[in-house]
Amino acid sequence: MNDALPKDLKHIIKHKKDYVPDNYQSSDSGHSSHHGENSFSSERIVNYKGKKVVIETTYKVEIDGVPLQAHVAAADDGTVHCHGLPNYSFESATSLVKNLIDAEGLAKASKNEISKPCHNDNDKEHNDGNDRHHGHH
């Protein structure tokens, strides 16, 4: 029988620090957050008749006054994409937001018991001050 599940899986989950390979160049470009406001910019570059065209599009979306945290970007064909619904191509940001709101109910929890400092001394420094990640709940 195969050994598909690592015997030390719990240990891996509790201690692994190299999930993201060292040489991965992360890209958070186009995302800015200031004083609780979120906006997302994306750049499209087109070469046409020897001219380089750069189109920068910025989306700032609020729903009932709460900034949308999910990354929004314009694709080269002009459609709008969002991390919140990763397989979709929307013709407009309005259509995108309506679909996001329709999907919101899929991720509801009755309470938040997670985002508290862990009492494990080894992990304490990682958890302190990380509540900034919990924008929506």
Partner: protein, 316 residues
């Protein structure tokens, strides 16, 4: 041992084992909690949150977590598993790990992951596509609404991507939800003709490697004139299949197994060509890039171009 992957509608024994294996993986606990995954996210500096209830998670939930965290790792092009050349090899590695774990819980080394030929169903009348045998009690359960019948009615969703936020939520467990064919603008599945366009495309991928290029990978992923092919199947099924936590719906693996089969057919025709090569294109998408792995060792695209030692497809 090399196993043979078959059409789920062609072999009821494989179908029954698949559903039972999924149920067993969803039942299996390893002492890993939602708090452990929160700590994992912090320790690995992932740009995402995890909130919600504290609960023990299943092995199946770890596959959901693996997929959505890979999606949250942004690269200069796309992310660590999508929107770029890495899409097909990453999912091949991911499906193989899932297949190995199904073999383990089923205690059957000969079990092979089945696929769903959605292009065949795409030839049916649009009103019949969500009423096929696949969406019956004996197979995946309801195509529309909450899955309340068949083996998959036992499956519980515990981790869901927050569509408005930047992370995942450990939710009060609930059944899988679908809305097949109800998404505006996507009433039908991809057709055979659309699939043929991907098979006829000579280049695996090309600069600028993004979701705007015309290439086999990009057409099959479904960005070209999208949502098409793979993406369209996610959108067509809808609800849980529409989020980054889409592996919550076991239909996910049937979709991706068919996508992998299409890639295999394309390689048999056009050669086992991958691009970008070493030192070219964006890091994280190159032929020698280490792919993000949670269960099992990390592989490179080069490692998965030949799958014959693991599996072959029927009629491929």
């Amino acid at each position: 041992m090399t196993v043979i992957r078959e059409n789920i509608l062609a072999n009821t024994q494989v179908k029954d084992k698949y559903l039972e294996g999924v149920r067993l993986l969803d039942e299996e606990r390893q002492g890993i909690t939602a708090q452990d995954l929160f700590d994992f996210i912090q320790r690995n500096n992932l740009n995402m949150s995890l909130s919600g209830i504290q609960q023990e998670l299943s092995t199946y939930d770890l596959f959901v977590f693996w997929h959505v965290t890979a999606m949250q790792i942004s690269l200069p092009v796309g992310n660590a598993a999508h929107n770029g050349p890495i899409f097909l090899p990453w999912h091949r590695m991911y499906l193989r790990r899932f297949e190995e774990n199904l073999q383990r819980v089923l205690q059957d080394d000969e079990f092979a992951l089945p696929y769903w030929d959605w292009a065949a169903d795409g030839e049916l009348d649009v009103n019949d596509q969500w009423r096929t045998q696949l969406w019956s009690e004996d197979y995946l359960g309801e195509a529309r609404g909450t899955v309340r019948s068949g083996v998959l009615s036992n499956i519980q969703v515990r981790l869901a991507q927050d569509p408005l936020g930047n992370g995942i939520v450990s939710i009060d467990p609930r059944p899988v939800e679908r809305a097949a064919g109800m998404s505006a603008g996507v009433p039908d599945l991809p057709s055979q003709a659309q699939l043929q366009v991907a098979l006829d495309e000579p280049d695996y991928d090309r600069e600028p490697w993004s979701n705007s290029v015309r290439s086999h990978r990009n057409i099959l992923e479904g960005w070209f004139n999208g949502p098409s092919l793979h993406n369209r199947v996610h959108v067509w099924i809808g609800r849980d299949m529409s989020l980054g936590t889409s592996p919550n719906d076991p239909a996910f693996f049937l979709n991706h197994c068919f996508v992998d089969r299409v890639w295999e057919i394309w390689m048999a025709e056009h050669g086992r060509n991958y691009a970008p090569q070493s030192g070219e294109g964006p890091e994280g998408h190159r032929i020698d890039s280490q792919m993000v792995a949670l269960l099992g060792e990390s592989l490179t695209p080069q490692d998965v171009l030949e799958a014959d030692d693991w599996y072959v497809y029927d009629n491929a």
